[in-house]
Subunit: 607 residues, 2 copies
């Protein structure tokens, strides 16, 4: 068991090794940008698909829409760079919103993002599994299984630790970056050298009958799904090499530039080559075919795309545990999300995310496309809140707040518009948001209330006064008269002033009961022997009643009460199943009684 864990997860790391375990920019880009970069695989398509519902001539509108998306991207990147510098301990939207707009805004951000990371993992992994299944059709019926296996692999990788998973992710991410760069450069080269004449469905600016603001807004809101994943870096600042904020901001800028280049490039090529979306082949694949022809380069591109989609899920694995940690630190999630595992990752967060996304995969049986609008809402609400928060922060800090705020104001406005557009035009996809979020917020507050109550109850008075007890009553549970009793009674005598051996008899006045009583009296003449009868065969209730009675009496004499439960500890784990688990249940029940200490006398079976 332990060996298996070591094999899969690696040897434990010291807490002080934390510093070594941090990311260079180069590794961080691989680790944290796959979500954002992989979305260029479908970003352009999302815009064009909406536009062609009107007519193919409307495709030219993808160019101005791409410009607005770029403006949004720029403002987001600038805004998140400011957030990184202002909050170098990480936390992103949750921290920024709660510090500037109040706890509820923070929790809405945090809750949305928690759910969103699960969606990211489910959506990306099932896209990856589908890509694999397209390549090997025999696997088609097993794609949910494949997706689950990928999630489990990602989980293990992340439990092994950051640096090692970054190493694993370098290849897919940098391959994708390389091949996309080649695609766009070759594509533009062919255009500039006149090798490919314009083939567009319509000139920019041509009037398309039936065009409406609503359609353009829907196309824009769809296209902005490319921008999900941008916040990942700001959440993960503490993982960077020092100087952390500077390195994180640099990585974010780099990612923004690459993303902008890819998105514009692909949208432009798509327009110029006059590509019309089809059911079977993705837009990106059509662009690739037009530029490269259906040769080796095309297949490399397809493969790299499939790979980056599969690993995009890893962004969720980096960001979710840190966000859960921040929520747990503020007492809105269970404490355990603060614990670091053997390899310094926040293991509980990693495991929760894996289980959550596996559940989503099971529920939707791998058809996760419908989740994309939900996913966009979950991203743009925190975007809006965190940027509004930044504006408020600059304002409250005074000085040249408007200059600092300009990126944030634009970002907040555009993000907010997207949220509104999604609410209006995509309600039939995003309604679960309005069910999940209130529940989540309620749970956060209940947890918080509990921890507050506990803290209040535990607070010590300034002057602590200890109580002096006169002595201790020990009740020793006795089954048959065996070797176990000797050890238990010896211990009881070492701590107790008054010892009672208690025997539970299942049959009333049976022979066996009398026999045991006689034998006990013979072997232990000085110990009081007390029989508790259990006509209903459950030993729990009669024991509890008897212990209550003794404890009440003890209290009167200013004694404490200890119940000593002997338990077998076999030398092999399977043998545990051969002994009744009554002790466990009894301990559980007694744990609810006041003023009773439950002690376990472990008797080790040597063979």
């Amino acid at each position: 068991m332990n060996y298996l864990k070591r094999l899969l997860v690696g040897k434990p790391l010291k807490s002080s090794e934390n510093d070594d375990q941090s990311l260079t920019r180069f590794a961080a880009l691989a680790m944290l940008s796959s979500d954002a970069l992989s979305s260029v695989a479908y970003g352009t398509e999302q815009i064009v698909v909406v536009l062609v519902t009107l007519s193919t001539a409307a495709i030219w509108y993808s160019l101005p829409i791409a410009v607005v998306v770029l403006v949004l991207l720029t403002s987001l990147i600038l805004s998140y760079r400011q957030i990184i510098h202002a909050y170098p301990h990480g936390g992103g939207a949750y921290v920024v919103s709660s510090e500037n707009l109040g706890k509820s805004a923070g929790l809405i951000s945090g809750g949305s993002l928690l759910v969103d990371y699960m969606l990211t993992v489910a959506v990306s992994v099932s896209a990856g599994a589908e890509a694999i299944a397209s390549a090997i059709p025999a696997l088609y019926h097993h794609r949910v299984l494949i997706a689950v296996v990928i999630v489990l692999l990602l989980m293990l990788m992340n439990l092994r630790g950051l640096r090692e998973s970054a190493g694993f992710l370098m290849l897919p991410v940098y391959s994708f970056i390389a091949i996309m760069t080649v695609l766009i450069i070759v594509g533009l080269f062919k255009i500039v050298t006149g090798m490919v004449p314009i083939n567009a469905t319509a000139q920019p600016g041509s009037f398309v009958p039936g065009i409406s603001i609503a359609l353009l807004l829907r196309a824009f809101s769809s296209g902005s799904s490319s921008l999900t994943g941008v916040e990942a870096i700001s959440n993960a600042v503490p993982f960077f090499k020092k100087p952390r904020a500077k390195n994180a901001a640099g990585t974010l800028a780099m990612m923004g530039i690459i993303l902008a280049f890819f998105f514009t490039g692909i949208t432009f090529l798509n327009y110029w080559y006059g590509i019309i979306p089809s059911e079977q082949v993705t837009v990106l694949s059509q662009v690739g075919e037009s530029v490269f022809g259906k040769g080796i380069m095309y297949y490399i591109m397809q493969f790299a795309t499939a790979l980056i989609l599969a690993v995009a899920a890893n962004t969720g694995f980096s960001a979710f545990p840190v966000l859960a940690y921040n929520l747990a630190k503020d007492k809105y999630l269970p404490h355990r999300y603060q614990d670091r595992g053997d390899r310094l990752g926040y293991s509980n967060g990693i495991i929760t995310l894996a289980l959550g996304s596996i559940a989503l995969l099971m529920i939707f049986q791998g058809s996760t496309e419908r989740l994309i609008p939900l996913y966009s809402v979950g991203v743009f609400i925190p975007f809006t809140l965190s940027q509004t928060g930044m504006v408020k922060k600059w304002y409250s800090e005074g000085g040249q707040w408007l200059r600092k705020s300009i990126a944030n104001i634009i970002g907040a406005l555009i993000s907010f518009s997207i949220v509104v557009i999604l609410f209006i035009y995509r309600l039939n996809d995003i309604w679960p948001f309005f069910i999940i979020m209130p529940i989540l917020i309620y749970v956060f507050y209940r947890i918080h209330k509990h921890y507050q109550n506990v803290a209040e109850q535990l607070r010590l008075a300034d002057e602590v006064k200890l109580h002096e007890y006169e002595g201790n009553t020990v009740i020793v549970l006795v089954g048959n008269v065996t070797q176990v009793n000797i050890g238990a009674i010896n211990y009881a005598r070492s701590i107790g002033d008054y010892i009672i051996a208690m025997h539970v008899s299942l049959d009333e006045n049976s022979e066996k009961e009398k026999e045991i009583q006689k034998e006990f009296k013979e072997k232990f003449p000085d110990i009081r022997f007390s029989v508790v009868r259990s006509p209903y065969r459950s030993i729990i209730n009669p024991v509890t009643r008897y212990v209550d009675r003794v404890s009440k009496k003890s209290k009167k004499y200013n004694y404490t009460t200890t119940v000593l439960i002997p338990e077998f500890v076999p030398n092999k784990a399977w043998k545990l199943s051969l002994h009744n688990q009554t002790a466990l249940r009894l301990r559980l029940r007694l744990s609810y009684r006041d003023d009773i200490i439950i002690s376990t006398y472990n008797y080790h079976l040597k063979k």
Copy 2:
């Protein structure tokens, strides 16, 4: 939770209410004979199907084969009546074989039957589910689910207790008995009055080219599957009203007569009416159609057959728990199979059987026909062993042993022949028997060895000498300095002579550690405060090491060592998840250390 249990299972019964909870002959027949009686639904068919592989003319051989089956049945019934009188405490084949032929023979019988009862449940319930699905074709794809639901219902019924489940079973069993009786009487009446002339495929005694002993033996071994279930009554003697043995023997005789009448009747009608087995319609259904015509009586018969097949599974639920009880009493199965539940049933046996047969249903997806030969082997091996055992018993008791043995000798010989025939002609169906049985026997012996070892280790010397300790060292685990510490330290002082407060620090030399140390010293100036550092963040290892050190020292001073672990007990169960389960894991680990008593100080959170 508790309420739900009461609702489903009923209020607990006193152990002394055991006597009321026993069966009249009338109820016992319903309760224990459904397995045997339901097998007439397919017994004749099993014979005829084998014969027609040669030619339809061979069907007349079913008559002599039926005679041999009747001989076998008679010898089995007589033999089991003797077993009932000789072993009025129940146990059947397992007890008889182990007492007379040695433990291994007993365990082979017991093991075969345990597996067999699971097979019975799975086979009968899926036959019942298929009957329901034939009636309502929309349910066809859910028949595994239906089967599982039936198993769970049977489980609940049996957990509720014997009498109540017998009540529930009266209707199907007695309806089936009634309709079969009517079928045979009407059928014979029509023959005797000459309303139906003989329509048989061949006269008895006609020569059928190609007939071979092998074919006849296979037909006979198939037909004897009707005799499974006969042993159920001898296992369940303790459930009968007093005088138990007499009532059980009477019920068994009654069941034998009914079974013989049905089996002969149906086989004869089948021969006379010249019915040839077909894929779609069962032989019994064809007989019914010929006798009744396709009217209301026919449908009643079909429905009653489906019902009794479904409840035949209940025989397993009566017999399995008693057999498991007997094996557990002899220490070949875990003790817990001896525990009676709230309603006096052996709950663990009932639940194990339900889970086992649900597993079989899942694995075979409801296509359990292939299990029938396996099931026959599992029945006839214990038959052979128990009857051989009876012969040996009579022989060793001397006197007119041969007269008493005659039924047993015949029964043993025929049963043994069937086993041999099955081994020779059905090896491709019964091979799992040769894998399961050795494993099971091995497990039985391992369990037995363990219990023997335990008993040996626990045996007390004639003279018990208690040890006098000088005092007690108490190690109190301390997290933050809170209210919890007061109670824990108060208790520790009441039992201990030397108190150590131990704090685990996760970061080396951190600020927090120093702060806690200072605060503790301030509040509890008289208590020794000890810091244990955990560079790997797991508190388990360092604590264990520290406790080991203290315990070693304590021992030198003739002190006992107690580790007091404070634990939160929230007022609501869900809140348990909000507190780290470290205490649980720590307790588990420490339970393997020698000479350490683990005590829990439960701090109750009031809100």
